[in-house]
């Protein structure tokens, strides 16, 4: 596939994509729509039953309600909170199940429109990825790892892997349990076209970064205000992070996809961490599954990810 992200973006709005949806995924769209309706009816049914049960309990104890609330105030509120939390969890679970099913059905087809991307279905992928990410210096230490979606494919000669991951650090237990979000977003990696042996990390400016590698002070003051660079080889870091590279990263930062991006050059690979709390590649529950705009949105998400490679010129063996 030689097209760049702008070409794919144009195709997403062209009749070619419309025809592709009509011919290749029409049947899948219809079955996803049936699943969606089923999920919505189930959620409505559960919510209705929950309201009826709750209403019945309240109405049947109406006369003694004030006394009960006065006597067992804390227990009542805890019970009500727990009751509705369970209902919400059940409904969210049903919605999540639908979204996962829809994604598994639709995403491979949309990827086939781009050409050379596929979903990773290896059951060991998550544990392997967890082990791989934990050894990088791209993110702070974490002890909880989850991976939602994993794609891989060829883009401009690069074998690109895209994983939607969440990293957390949980400390303490019980009342003192504290969960810190380390990273939530896309983890992208591909083999670097430039050779390097050391490790160079580019992170957003922070007082709380404790990286054991020496800091690299670069010439671009605007870049220095936004990013901190660490490397075990000062010269290699400057070979990789040229003035042009710094400018491109600053341009990318102004785009929505690149506003919170971190980069590392480790193990001969380029790693990108694109921080974003949105759920990627999701089929919405509340919109008709036969609406092509939903799938165009997924395609445009993939396009925005690939645009990073084009904007940063990672696919060209120039001075980075």
């Amino acid at each position: 596939m030689d097209k760049n992200y702008i070409d794919i973006q144009k195709k997403a709005f062209s009749s070619e994509f419309y025809e592709f949806c009509r011919k290749k995924i029409k049947i899948i769209m219809q079955s996803v729509e049936q699943e969606r309706k089923r999920a919505i009816y189930l959620i409505i049914a559960i919510a209705s039953i929950a309201v009826i049960i709750f209403g019945t309990v309240v109405v049947s104890n109406l006369s003694a309600l004030e006394t009960i609330i006065f006597q067992y105030k804390q227990d009542i509120f805890s019970f009500v909170f727990l009751y509705w939390s369970i209902i919400i969890v059940i409904c969210s679970f049903i919605a999540k199940q639908f979204k996962n099913k829809a994604k598994k059905a639709i995403l491979p087809k949309i990827l086939s429109f781009i050409g050379e991307f596929k979903i990773v279905e290896d059951p060991n992928h998550r544990s392997v990825l967890d082990s791989y990410v934990s050894k990088l210096n791209l993110f702070n230490t974490y002890n909880r790892f989850s991976c939602d979606d994993s794609l891989e494919g060829l883009y401009h000669g690069l074998n690109v892997s895209i994983d939607e991951i969440k990293l957390k650090k949980v400390t303490g237990s019980g009342k003192h349990r504290h969960t810190e979000k380390i990273f939530d977003g896309l983890f992208i990696r591909f083999k670097s076209l430039k050779n390097f042996s050391g490790e160079t990390i580019i992170r957003l400016n922070s007082c709380f970064d404790f990286i054991s590698k020496p800091k690299v002070n670069l010439e671009d003051p605007e870049f220095e205000k936004v990013y901190d660079v660490y490397s075990d080889d000062q010269i290699e870091a400057r070979c990789l992070i040229t003035p042009a590279f710094m400018q491109r990263l600053l341009v990318l930062k102004k785009k929505k996809i690149g506003s919170n991006i971190v980069v590392s050059f480790e193990n001969g690979m380029v790693h990108l961490g694109v921080s974003s709390s949105k759920d990627w590649f999701e089929v919405p529950l509340l919109q008709p599954a036969t609406n092509i705009a939903n799938y165009r949105a997924i395609l445009l998400e993939i396009v925005s990810i690939l645009s990073i490679i084009d904007i940063m010129k990672f696919d060209e063996n120039i001075g980075m």
């Binding site: 002070n217 010439e219 000062q234 870091a237 400057r238 070979c239």
Partner: protein
Amino acid sequence: MNLFILIAVIVVVVMYSYYATVIRNKNTVLEALSGIDVQLRKRYDLIPNVLTIAKKFMEHETELFEKITQLRTQASNAMLGSKEKFQAEAQLDVQLKNLMLNVENYPELKSDATMVQAMKTYNEVEENIAAARRFYNSSVKILKNSIEIFPGTLFASFAGEAANLSYFETDVQSKQPIDASKFL
């Protein structure tokens, strides 16, 4: 009394940290200078190989080859960090660029496999040299900041000869735009 001791300790600690910073920055400059030299050595080793390959095809460019060889010898013999070395290197930069432009006039040479490999290696070496120079300039800037801003000025003498080093600059000739039509 205790307050005076405390103040004295704080002053000593602060002064020591300034002293240590100047020494650290001085060593970084020397490291950076040495880093440039390491990369330049790679270039010096590469030049004879490039000239040997080029001579087979560019029989009439003997003057350019002699100039490059002379500048290479001059640069490699000059002292690290000296003005003579910087000047010789700057002129060598210009002549090597002229050589690479001249290669464009010899399609057989340009497509020769060993020449292609040599040019690729040359480009990588040049990138590394540029990066090493950037590191050097950055280190010199940090050292100059640490010894020119009070109270770092009190410790400037500890920077030794490194305090007198200047930024790497290209010479006037290499700042001139190259007229490619002269070589085509």
